[in-house]
Each structure stands twice: as structure tokens, then as C-alpha cells.
């Protein structure tokens, strides 16, 4: 329970469904004071207290589990390594894969619990072959199946998502009706361990010598130097804002980040059409159930991103995704989550893309 409205209502619904529920708040910072202050996301003392009050309203026990070491190793270190390598990671997926539905779930199972219930917006159903299927939430604006696309069948079999059939608006109303004072708490959007949402500033401070280049050239596709940057980790493929190029392009069109080369520290920019991608190679695939060999479905390539029609082939080289229409600004390191209709099939980390010719 993060201290927010979703996990509080999820807990209350789990109790009503007849489960014996215990509230768990995760302490993920090795030094809580160093994380953001104010009740905005998770991990602050205020958030822990909000969660504790919610459990008292619901009438269930409450504990704080200290998973800060695991979180640092599995999520924060990975986040830094990925940026240092010029990629754009999604730490929420890592946290779900390694922390919430692994470290927490395993400890809970050992202590005699049967499942982890969270406030994620996604739906679980039993499929025709008795396996557990995960589907997009009813509230498409809040759907979080993307960040859960890393869960395998075993993890799904021990998961409960009580909110998947509701809209956020209904959840807020229900929280208020239940007397949960977190009902009006704003949603969290930023990365929980980055204070103020200042990703670049955080990376500059934490990466230190791990990033080979704290500055480097910004070039166009011909190699002409257009400007300087203060660290390639401050850029994401497809980024348009914050390039600080004094001179406009000759054709007057906006320029976007096309490539980040961390070894030389070179950031390449160019026009939007050069971002078009129609082939994606994914690594480290995670499958929710049976591994498909071939599939025609859709892929989602970033959190809250669009669905793209795609043909997916699983081979020895990884997951090959062929997009039927080109996509723009696809950043290596993000997850490609594969859907068959509303059902999540699995996911892979984007390793490489190739441009439509």
C-alpha cells in the first residue's frame, strides 16, 4: 500500500471479497529523507502514515517491509546502467518484475499468504485452457497492463487486481464513501525515487564517473556539430524539447533526437520522418503464458503510448516485431508489450530498431 487512493481501495475490496488481508507498505529508500518530500508518490514518511491510517479505517493489520537493498540493486542500479548506456529504461516494470511480484510475493507466500493484491488497473481472467489471462483495464486512461507485462503465469496466479473493472473516478468516489482520507490525493506520475521529477539532474548527480561523457557534441546526420550537451543521459530517442540548439534547421523544421551514442557521447538529431521505425528487436522476453511462435496483434512501446498493429515472431535471436505502420520515437530500453486484443501476451525490452526505408 503506497499511501495512495488506489491501493487503499484495492485492499478494502479484497477484504470485502472475503480474503484475510494484511497491508504492506514498501520502504524502498535506503535513506527516506533523501527521497522527495511531500505526499506525491510513495516512499515518504507521510505516505507510510497515509497507508497506515487507511488500514485502520479498513480494519486490517499494517506493516512496513524494508526492501530498500533489493530495490536499489534491481531497480535503481539498472536504471542508472541503462541511461549510462544510452537507453531509456522503465523502472516501474523492473519494480513489478523484481520487487512487487517477486521479493514481496515470495516473502508473503513463505509467511502463509496466498497472493499479492495491488491497486494496479488491469484485469485477470481464467482462459479457456484454465491459465490466468491478463487484460487491459476497463478504464483505458488508467490502464496499467503495460507495466505489468513482465509478469509470468506463476506470478499472475498469485496476483489480484481488484480495480481492473473500475474507472478511476469511481475508485475516488468509493474511497470517499469508505472514509478513506486519501481519496483526493493526486496521482503519482514521476519516477518515485527521482525527487522533483528532475531526471537529468538526478542522473548527473548519481551517475558520477559511470557516465563516460558529461558533455559531448550534438550533430546532424551529416556529422556537422550543431551544439554541445551536458551528458548524453539527459536525452531520449524522439525527444524534441531541451536540445538548446541556437541555430534553426535549414529547412525550418523541428529537430528530434535520432540516436544516442554513449561511447563517444554523440547525440544525433534530425527531422521527425527520420524517427520512423517499422522493425523492432526485443531482448529478455517475459511471457504471461504459453510462448507464441508467431502472432498478429498489437504492441505498445511506451507507458500510455499508442497501440501499433504488428506481426510478432519469436526466434532464437529474440523477439522480432514488424510494425504494419511506422512508429516514431521508439527508444531502446523501453518495453514492447505485446497484446492479442485486450490480452497481454508478454513483453520484451527494445534492443534495437530499424528505420523504414
Amino acid at each position: 500500500m503506497s499511501g495512495g487512493v488506489d491501493s487503499a481501495v484495492a485492499a478494502a475490496r479484497a477484504v470485502e471479497a472475503g480474503h484475510d488481508v494484511t497491508g504492506i507498505h514498501l520502504a524502498l529508500s535506503r535513506n527516506p529523507a533523501s527521497y522527495r518530500s511531500g505526499a506525491r508518490g510513495c516512499c515518504t514518511i507521510e505516505d507510510a502514515n497515509d497507508a497506515r491510517r487507511a488500514t485502520d479505517v479498513i480494519g486490517i493489520p499494517f506493516y512496513v517491509w524494508d526492501l530498500s537493498e533489493r530495490f536499489h540493486e534491481d531497480v535503481v542500479e539498472d536504471f542508472m546502467d541503462e541511461y549510462a548506456a544510452g537507453r531509456t529504461p522503465n523502472p516501474c516494470l523492473r519494480c513489478n518484475e523484481k520487487i512487487k511480484f517477486a521479493a514481496v510475493l515470495n516473502r508473503a507466500l513463505d509467511l502463509g499468504f496466498d497472493a499479492v493484491a495491488t491497486g494496479h488497473y488491469a484485469q485477470l481472467r481464467t482462459g479457456p485452457d484454465r491459465s490466468i489471462e491478463m487484460h487491459r483495464a476497463v478504464d483505458h486512461g488508467k490502464d496499467q497492463s503495460y507495466v505489468l507485462g513482465v509478469l509470468d503465469q506463476d506470478q499472475l496466479a498469485h496476483s489480484i487486481f481488484p480495480l481492473g473493472g473500475s474507472t478511476k473516478a469511481d475508485v475516488r468516489l468509493e474511497a470517499a464513501a469508505r472514509g478513506l482520507l486519501v481519496a483526493d490525493k493526486p496521482d503519482s506520475h514521476d519516477i518515485c525515487f527521482v525527487a522533483d521529477g528532475d531526471n537529468t539532474g538526478w542522473l548527473r548527480e548519481k551517475l558520477g564517473d559511470r557516465s563516460p561523457h558529461h558533455s559531448g557534441p550534438i550533430v546532424d546526420e551529416s556529422g556537422e556539430v550543431l551544439g554541445e550537451h551536458q551528458g548524453s543521459y539527459g536525452f531520449t530517442i524522439g525527444q524534441r524539447k531541451g536540445l538548446r540548439l541556437g541555430v534553426p534547421a535549414a529547412d525550418g523544421k523541428p529537430r528530434f533526437v535520432l540516436d544516442i551514442e554513449p561511447v563517444s557521447g554523440t547525440v544525433t538529431v534530425g527531422p521527425r520522418e527520420r524517427l520512423a521505425v517499422d522493425r523492432i528487436i526485443g531482448r529478455s522476453p517475459r511471457w504471461c503464458g504459453t510462448v507464441p511462435s508467431r502472432l498478429e496483434g498489437t504492441v505498445q512501446l511506451r507507458a500510455h503510448g499508442d497501440e501499433h498493429r504488428a506481426r510478432v515472431r519469436v526466434g532464437s535471436a529474440g523477439v522480432e516485431i514488424e510494425l504494419l505502420d511506422p512508429a516514431y520515437g521508439i527508444a531502446p530500453g523501453q518495453a514492447a508489450v505485446i497484446y492479442d486484443g485486450t490480452r497481454v501476451v508478454g513483453s520484451a525490452t527494445i534492443a534495437g530498431t530499424s528505420r523504414a526505408s
Binding site: 507498505h25 499494517f62 515470495n106 509467511l111 502463509g112
Partner: protein, 398 residues
């Protein structure tokens, strides 16, 4: 959750005694600031002063030595900072404070704050494996420069492991040099005999809610001859060292609780110690490698608080045990404080020489005036399966 929890966390807070509730309730509707001069004020003042006399009589101090505060933390802060500042102002050579390495955070943290503010050197003297401070080390520290010691603070009884400290011996080594001694007796009043004048200490902290009185009210008993600088400035209501309108109803409740707790201390201690001994013996029968931390209970009433059973369960995480017992309606503690609920290894157990792991596998059961043999039965019935579960949990996390 079960309707009636088995409450074995009396060292954290203990239920109010019915007589204290009655005494407090009797004044809740009264108007009157004890410092006002009219009839209502005089009535409130009378409640406060009669309460002060009741407390003084119970603890063998004079009424003028009883300074009302908001509780243990304020009393400790007032004693440590207030006496240090006054002693320092009188002689700038007094730059050292001696204390034990097992104090409550209400003593540790003000001392660390004084160190950070500059000019003070605090020596945290070692304890033995039972948690008893090394008196010879304390003596050596004094002898290295008696004139530079501003203050000694040593708790009467440890809140986590229940070990009683040799306060008399500390007073004996401090007195020849005129060094004032403060003691945090929050856990001691009503559980072991405490005689302020007889003990020779100069300042003593206690609080209402640990002895059957209300929350939010406590006392610093401090000798008249001891100079204490004020922390919070205002009306100077309490001897000019503590300001703030006195809470007459709470003070009446506190006095009623102190009077009863001290009066019934001998039979209370005997009854609770018997329950505690039964609990320890039967838990060890179920979990053979469980062991007592702190002074061995065989040493008797002079070594350990009667209601404290601090037990180590090898191979378990203390917070897993706590959670699993809570789920069965049994409420106890890991004994260490935490702000966001994140368990930290106890500084007390670490000071006693426990490894980090041993410091984490502990539980504190603390019995009090409402404890019964049925509570003990409930723990004995639950502890076996709970320890088994917790062991499974910590094996995996390794």
C-alpha cells in the same frame, strides 16, 4: 482480527487505571487556569498542588522538586540540555557528558544534538552482555577529569531488554565530585522500588502513560539546588524552568496513577514476574533455541524489570514474528523505535554485543497490570507455528 487482542506491549504504553480515569474525568469540565487569581483559578491550582504533593509522597521527594512536563521526552530534554547549559554557564571547563550506550532515543538524541551544536563531548559508556553499564569504565571516565564532567545520565531500567542499571553505584562515584546525575525512570516507577531522595540522583524522568496515567503528561523530579536552564520560554509556570499552562485534569489523573502504582508495586511486581517467568519457560519448551536477552531472569527482581521478556528467536526476522503474532491477535514489539515503521537493528542489542542478525531476530513481550495467565497461554499456543512460518520466510530471503 480477533475481538480482544492479547496486549503484551505494556512497556510501550499501558492502559489507564480506573482510578486515574476517574480522577482525570472529574476535572475535565472545570474551567480555571491554575495561574489565574480568581476562585476558578484557585480551584485548578489546588488540584495541581495536591497532585504534586501526592506524587512527592509516593516518590519520596519534596513537592517543590516535581516539575510537570508533557512527558518523558520533554523531561529528558529539559534535564540534559537544561542542566548541561546551566553547569556550562557556571564553569566553561565542564564540557563532558557521560551516559550509557543503551539509553532511550529521548536521551540519545538530545545528547547527539548537543554534540552537533558544538562544544560538548559525550561519552557513551559500554555495557556488558546483559546490558548493564560498566561502572568501572564510568569511574575511569570521571577520574580522567572530574572537573570537566557537566552531567551523568543513566537510565534506571532499560526499555528494550529490561535490565536495571546500577544507578546507586553511579551516584556514589559522581557525588564526591559534585557531578549531577540524571536518570530516565520511565520504565521503573510502579514496577521496581524508586525512592528519589534515597537514590541520591539529582533529576529523574517519568511519564504518565507507562504507569496507568494519561498520555501527554510527565514529570521531571529535580532537586532544588540544581540549576536548570529553560528550553521553552514563556510564563515560567513551573519554577521558571518550564512554561505552559498546566493541564490540571491530566495532572490529577497522573497523581492518582502514581499513588496507586507505587502503593501496589510490590505485589504487582511479584504477580507479573510470575507470569513472565511462566511465559519464558513455556515458550522455550516450544521453541528450544529461543533465549532471553538482558539480565537472566534467575537473577531475580534486582536485575530486571518484572514484566519484561525480551526473547531471541534464531533464524527469524523480528518484524515477521510481530506480523504473524498480530494476525493472531497477539500484540508485542520488536523493542526498537522507528519513524516510518522500518525496523532497524536495535542499538541496545548491538551495544550488548549481539550481531546484526541476532539484533533483528528479537521480540519484546512486556506484561502489565491487565495481563493474565490467559495471555501467556495465547502466546504459548501461537509461538510454535509462528516461529516456523517466520523461519521459512527468512530462509527464502537469504
Amino acid at each position: 482480527m480477533p475481538e480482544d487482542p492479547v496486549y503484551l506491549d505494556h512497556a510501550a504504553t499501558t492502559p489507564m487505571l480506573p482510578a486515574a480515569i476517574e480522577a482525570m474525568s472529574a476535572h475535565l469540565a472545570d474551567v480555571g487556569n491554575p495561574n489565574s487569581l480568581h476562585a476558578s483559578g484557585r480551584h485548578a491550582r489546588r488540584v495541581v498542588e495536591e497532585s504534586r504533593e501526592t506524587i512527592a509522597q509516593a516518590l519520596n521527594c519534596s513537592p517543590g522538586e516535581v516539575v510537570f512536563t508533557s512527558g518523558g521526552t520533554e523531561s529528558d530534554n529539559l534535564a540534559l540540555k537544561g542542566i548541561y547549559w546551566a553547569r556550562q554557564a557556571a564553569d566553561p571547563a565542564r564540557t563532558r557528558i557521560l551516559t550509557t550506550s543503551v539509553e532511550h532515543h529521548a536521551v540519545l538524541d538530545p545528547l547527539l544534538w548537543l554534540v552537533e551544536a558544538g562544544g560538548v563531548e559525550v561519552e557513551f559508556l559500554p555495557v556488558d552482555r546483559q546490558g548493564r553499564v560498566d561502572v568501572e569504565a564510568m569511574r575511569d571516565a570521571v577520574d580522567r577529569g572530574p572537573g570537566s564532567v557537566a552531567l551523568i545520565s543513566a537510565m534506571w531500567a532499560n526499555n528494550e531488554v529490561g535490565t536495571l542499571q546500577p544507578v546507586q553505584e553511579i551516584v556514589a562515584l559522581a557525588a564526591p565530585h559534585g557531578i549531577p546525575v540524571h536518570t530516565d525512570a520511565v520504565q521503573a516507577i510502579g514496577t521496581v522500588p524508586v525512592d528519589f531522595a534515597g537514590s541520591g540522583v539529582d533529576a529523574l524522568t517519568f511519564t504518565g502513560h507507562k504507569l496507568g496515567g494519561p498520555y501527554g503528561v510527565g514529570v521531571l523530579v529535580v532537586r532544588r539546588q540544581i540549576e536548570v536552564s529553560a528550553l521553552a520560554h514563556g510564563g515560567g509556570q513551573e519554577r521558571d524552568i518550564r512554561s505552559g499552562t498546566l493541564d490540571a485534569p491530566a495532572i490529577a489523573g497522573l497523581a492518582a496513577a502514581v499513588e496507586l502504582a507505587v502503593k501496589h508495586q510490590p505485589e504487582h511486581a511479584t504477580r507479573v514476574a510470575a507470569l513472565r517467568d511462566d511465559l519464558v519457560r513455556r515458550v522455550v519448551e516450544v521453541v528450544p533455541d529461543a533465549h532471553v536477552h538482558g539480565a537472566p531472569i534467575e537473577l531475580g527482581a534486582g536485575a530486571r524489570l518484572p514484566g519484561n521478556a525480551h526473547l531471541g528467536f534464531p533464524g527469524c526476522e523480528g518484524d515477521s514474528l510481530l506480523m504473524l503474532l498480530d494476525a493472531r491477535g497477539i500484540e508485542c514489539s520488536t523493542g526498537s523505535a522507528c519513524s516510518a515503521g522500518v525496523p532497524q537493528p536495535s542499538h541496545v542489542l548491538l551495544a550488548m554485543g549481539c550481531t546484526d542478525e541476532a539484533a533483528r531476530h528479537s521480540l519484546r513481550f512486556s506484561l502489565g497490570h491487565t495481563s493474565t495467565s490467559a495471555d501467556v497461554d495465547a502466546v504459548v499456543a501461537a509461538i510454535g507455528p509462528v516461529v516456523e512460518r517466520a523461519r521459512a520466510g527468512s530462509r527464502r530471503s537469504r
